[in-house]
């Protein structure tokens, strides 16, 4: 029987790993048992309804895209943001149908397109308007293989021609974020955007009316889906954020008292 030896210097890191994993697991379990945490108000999330209302008022379509991510060969974070974006698509499509606005989605990969098509179809089914759904009319497929440029150019061109009332950009984005958001701004769209990457959030803040920054995208998805697991996972992140903040404050105070080396060696076991 081989012996398991804890690798030196990894004790604290193992403890932290376990603390985070167990706490997230517990909050998720609590939430699925019914103690669903409330998620704070997100102005950008509330703006979705307003944005759809604007499309109804102007009698123009609303446009939606998740950007150029696919599920294959992406990081876990990218996949999670894409999932969040797709949950929001279902939510937005429901609102659009109930208010009488047309929603048109653009996407670059066949596998994502299949999922989006299913989402839209079931939304139409729920509203009792199954016959009105047509993949050709409501889904724009702009194929790409590696670079995001053709997709961005395709969507931007369409936005400038059609001038939709509203533009939703929710999901994991690459550089197409800037091109599409700028085209939307210039076409006079009311834009609601959200992505998890800091670099591309910057473009959205500059060009869009409402932005979901970083984890706000996950929070919005949790609100849209009413999924207790997602809300629980957010609560888990918050619990850990709390001890991280506390530890930073303790560390600063300890440093102030001149006992930093002791704390550092304690944290480096």
């Amino acid at each position: 029987m081989a012996e398991a030896i804890l690798i030196p210097g990894k004790t604290v890191s193992l403890i932290v790993f376990l603390v985070i994993m167990v706490s997230i697991y517990l909050t998720m379990r609590n939430a699925s048992k019914g103690k669903v945490p409330t998620i704070r108000t997100l102005p950008a999330y509330n703006a979705i309804t307003e944005a759809v209302g604007r499309a109804v008022e102007l009698g123009k379509p609303a446009h939606y895209t998740t950007g150029t991510h696919s599920f294959v060969g992406q990081t876990a974070g990218g996949s999670a943001a894409l999932t969040a974006g797709l949950s929001l698509l279902a939510y937005i499509s429901d609102i659009c149908l109930s208010k009488g606005a047309t929603l048109i989605a653009s996407c670059p990969y066949p596998e994502v397109m299949t999922i989006e098509s299913e989402i839209l179809r079931s939304s139409y089914l729920k509203a009792g308007m199954e016959e009105e759904y047509s993949e050709v009319e409501h889904l724009r497929y702009v194929p790409i293989v590696s670079s995001c440029a053709p997709f961005a150019a395709g969507v931007a061109g369409w936005l400038e021609r059609e001038k939709p009332a509203t533009n939703f950009l929710l999901g994991p984005f690459f550089f197409e974020s800037l091109i599409i958001a700028e085209a939307g701004y210039h076409a006079g769209c009311f834009q609601v955007a959200g992505t998890t990457s800091a670099g591309y959030s910057a473009f959205f803040v500059a060009c869009c009316d409402y932005v979901l920054i970083g984890e706000e995208l996950y929070a919005a998805a949790a609100l849209a889906t009413n999924d207790p697991i997602q809300a629980g996972s957010l609560r888990g992140s918050d619990v850990n954020r709390a001890w991280i903040i506390a530890l930073i404050l303790i560390g600063v105070v300890v440093t102030l008292l001149g006992m930093k080396p002791a704390l550092m060696s304690l944290l480096s076991i």
Binding site: V16, R40, V145, G157, A198, S201, R235, G258
Partner: protein, 208 residues
């Protein structure tokens, strides 16, 4: 002969793509775009074949017969094009996802959390006043950003005030990201223009 031809093709393709900006979308851009799609896909195929040969087939021929199993499992990736057996493609993908998540999250507590916390124990006395003030600003930006992302607590009262500070800290970060974009983007274009001017146009015109 091939060298000169290559240089010409190189330059023509470059100009064809730039022509998307000035004068605008045109057939030459389209052709160049699809050529790009084709070559990138082709390159990936060759690289894939090479890795499969090196990691799978040649060890298998060299005596490690058990490598046949990963190769067969790997082939399941292609069942995704079939409606009936598409689910099989999820198995190799599952191993890729699982292993990828495992190797990435195992080090996150150390790299992205503990080491970052430890680096935030900054001195605010016993150093020059400017360093002290700067450190305080860093801590304010850090803590307020952390507070901003509390998702399951309603932001009221003091928390709301801190969050507002957090939002401005994020704007500083976004400003930096945005400012840094210009450098990267211009560099890419400078690379192409340098080629066009120095390696194509100058020799063509007989200039140094």
């Amino acid at each position: 002969m091939w060298g000169i031809l290559g240089n010409w093709i190189n330059a023509i393709l470059t100009i064809a793509i730039i022509s998307f900006a000035v004068p605008g979308e045109n057939i030459f851009y389209r052709i160049a775009e699809y050529i790009m799609i084709g070559v990138t896909a082709g390159y990936a195929v060759v690289q894939g074949i090479r890795v499969v040969l090196n990691l799978g087939i040649s060890p298998m021929m060299g005596g490690q017969a058990y490598m046949l199993l990963p190769i067969l499992l790997g082939l399941l990736v292609y069942t995704r094009f079939s409606k009936q057996y598409g689910y099989l493609s999820r198995w190799p993908i599952a191993l890729m996802v699982g292993s990828g998540i495992g190797v990435s999250i195992r080090a996150i507590p150390e790299v992205d959390i503990m080491n970052q916390i430890k680096a935030s124990f900054l001195p605010i006395v016993g150093v020059n006043w400017d360093v002290a003030v700067s450190n305080i600003i860093l801590l304010i930006a850090l803590l307020s950003t952390l507070f901003y992302f509390f998702m399951t607590v309603e932001q009221k009262g003091a928390l709301r005030q801190i969050s507002v500070v957090g939002r401005y800290s994020l704007m500083i970060l976004f400003g930096a990201y945005w400012g840094s974009q210009l450098m990267t983007r211009s560099t890419m274009f400078i690379g192409r223009m340098s080629f066009l001017i120095k390696d194509f146009l100058f020799p063509l015109l007989g200039l140094g």
